[in-house]
């Protein structure tokens, strides 16, 4: 474990975020908007998650 290169950590982190980005879309929109009368597109929290994941991918790419 001691010889593992540091660069791997960034690749693994980015991989985790990409995997999470795929998993997010398994959650049905109706579950996110349950009980809501307003169903505007901006209320879809999967899109919020994508913005967050995009930011994280950028961060780990810059600081690699």
């Amino acid at each position: 474990m001691i010889d593992l290169p540091v660069a791997w950590a960034n690749y693994i982190s980015m991989g985790i975020f990409i995997f999470l980005g795929c998993l997010v879309w398994i959650v049905p929109k109706k579950a996110i908007l349950a009980g809501q009368s307003e169903t505007d597109r901006w209320r879809d929290l999967r899109i919020w998650a994508m913005v967050l994941i995009g930011l994280q991918l950028t961060i780990y790419w810059i600081f690699s």
Binding site: D3, N10, S13, V24, L45, W48, A49, L52, S64
Partner: protein
């Protein structure tokens, strides 16, 4: 201290007290006191979550660590938080909110049994009393450092201000004052970054100066053989276990989401908090790096932030930054007393006294909030002597993280986990953690990961031989979005 700085500090304390007491008139029962009558909106909760999450360790300690290790310190805000916050937002928070519970131990009690509920509440409450004492001591120390107030005056003033608004207004006052406090923190963070980058001659000059003497300070991870934060340990222990255990299991954090006016507000609040969390390193990591770039003359790393406040910020802004540090501490104390009061009132008192009558919960909750504050004020002056006990309690708490995460994960995501398997896994999982940490002296990050893996296997296996909850109960206590119409 400049008179303008002093005026800003006094104005802030008066504003927070006024807002909190004003909200107190709306509190009619325990539901209002502990869950704000389920009236909170997503952005207030989101800011409040961040306020609760940032404490003195985040500000002073993280800046000091960043001075030593650079941007790697920010992993606590990124890989060590964001994935878990997204999962909490989309899966766990909707589940808790729909179950109508007041606390995470209450959810565990419904999903497993009352033994698990009491153990979870008891451990969290005992730890919270000492954590509150540490926070109160840190607040008094900060006031002594900047204003020259004796420690006992700082404790008295801090306890009185926090007590006035948290006893009167409950969760609503805590959440709204938190959101004001976090807004101040971010304002100060942006100003420090702006002034710091400008003084260093722009971002490129800043980065060049930093990496000349500290080539690894702009790398996100430390080597695998680093003693404190080896990168495999950070990803496996922090990213996969400690962070999810905190973001899906911490009562102080999640209580405000249970007070959301709708399920969507509850979920959106955590997503919004995650967005804010992404930029927290600007507040808590950047000052440490800035002190390094500006070649600060300091004796030890934890002096990095005070040095930046004193030497970089102009009068008025330094007062505001000082307010931000007080705010960070206050928001952790107010959330701690409110959530601990809730767990003792409902999860421990109701179960152990076998009395589920909620008529006296408001009165008991307010008394307990006062008692907790007074306890923390009494403990605070002796916290240096009690440091060993606090470290011991932190260790005990960490033993529960892996097993508790397994219980929440399998309990929420599957219908397989059974009440008896839950209790058995909790007990045996803690023993496994203790063996690895105390006897074999493993790094805490690896202990968390291995005890979590053990608990997942144990819970899954033992559940195959023990009795399940009824299908009707499981339907409301497990995440099954595809089966709902």
């Amino acid at each position: 201290m400049h008179p303008l700085d002093l005026a800003i500090i006094i104005g802030y304390l008066a504003l927070i007290t006024f807002v909190g007491i004003k909200l107190g008139s709306k509190v009619k029962n325990a539901h209002d006191f502990f869950l704000a009558g389920r009236s909170l909106t997503w952005w207030v909760i989101g800011l409040s979550i961040i306020g609760t999450n940032i404490d003195t360790n985040s500000y002073v300690g993280a800046s000091g660590n960043a001075y030593n290790v650079g941007i790697a310190q920010a992993n606590f805000e990124w890989i060590g938080a964001i994935p878990a916050m997204i999962i909490a937002s989309l899966i766990f928070i909707p589940l808790y909110w729909r179950a109508g519970v007041y606390s995470i131990p209450e959810y565990l009690g419904l999903r497993y049994n009352q033994g698990v509920r009491v153990v979870a509440a008891l451990i969290a409450s005992i730890f919270a009393v000492f954590a509150l004492g540490v926070a109160m001591w840190a607040l008094a120390l900060t006031l002594e450092t900047y204003l020259g107030w004796p420690i006992w005056v700082g404790i008295l003033v801090s306890g009185t201000v926090v007590g006035l608004y948290s006893i009167a207004g409950g969760l609503a006052a805590v959440a709204i004052t938190d959101s004001i406090q976090v807004s101040i923190m971010f304002l100060c963070g942006i100003i420090i970054v702006g002034i710091g980058i400008s003084d260093a001659g722009g971002f490129s000059a800043f980065a060049t100066t930093l990496t000349q003497d500290n080539p690894t300070h702009l790398q996100a991870y430390l080597p695998a053989d680093d003693e404190g934060f080896p990168w495999p340990g950070v990803i496996l222990g922090l990213g996969f276990v400690l962070s999810p255990a905190y973001w899906i299991g911490s009562q102080a954090i999640l209580q405000r989401t249970l007070g959301a006016r709708t399920q969507w507000d509850a979920s959106a609040s955590m997503m919004f908090a995650a967005l804010a969390k992404t930029f927290i390193p600007l507040l808590v990591v950047f000052p440490g790096i800035l002190a390094l770039v500006m070649k600060a003359d300091i004796d030890y790393p934890d002096m990095a932030l005070p040095w930046v406040i004193k030497n970089v910020l102009p009068p008025g802004i330094s007062g505001l930054m000082f307010v931000a540090i007080i705010a960070a501490l206050q928001s952790s104390i107010d959330s701690g007393v409110n959530s601990t009061s809730l767990m003792i009132t409902r999860d421990i008192r109701h179960v152990l006294m076998k009395n589920h009558d909620t008529a006296n919960d408001l009165k008991v909750g307010r008394y307990l909030t006062l008692v907790l504050l007074l306890s923390s004020m009494c403990i605070a002056p002796f916290i240096g002597d009690l440091g060993g006990i606090f470290t011991f309690l932190q260790t005990i708490l960490s033993l529960f993280q892996g097993p508790m995460l397994a219980l929440l994960l399998l309990g929420a995501m599957t219908q397989r986990a059974t009440p008896m398997a839950g209790l058995w896994t909790l007990v045996s999982g803690v023993l496994v953690s203790a063996l690895l940490l105390i006897v074999l002296e493993w790094n805490l990050l690896y202990v968390a990961f291995v005890s979590f893996c053990y608990s997942m296997v144990a819970l899954w296996t033992v559940s195959g031989f023990t009795e399940k909850l009824s299908a009707e109960k499981l339907a409301t206590l497990t995440y099954r979005p595809w089966s709902r119409t």
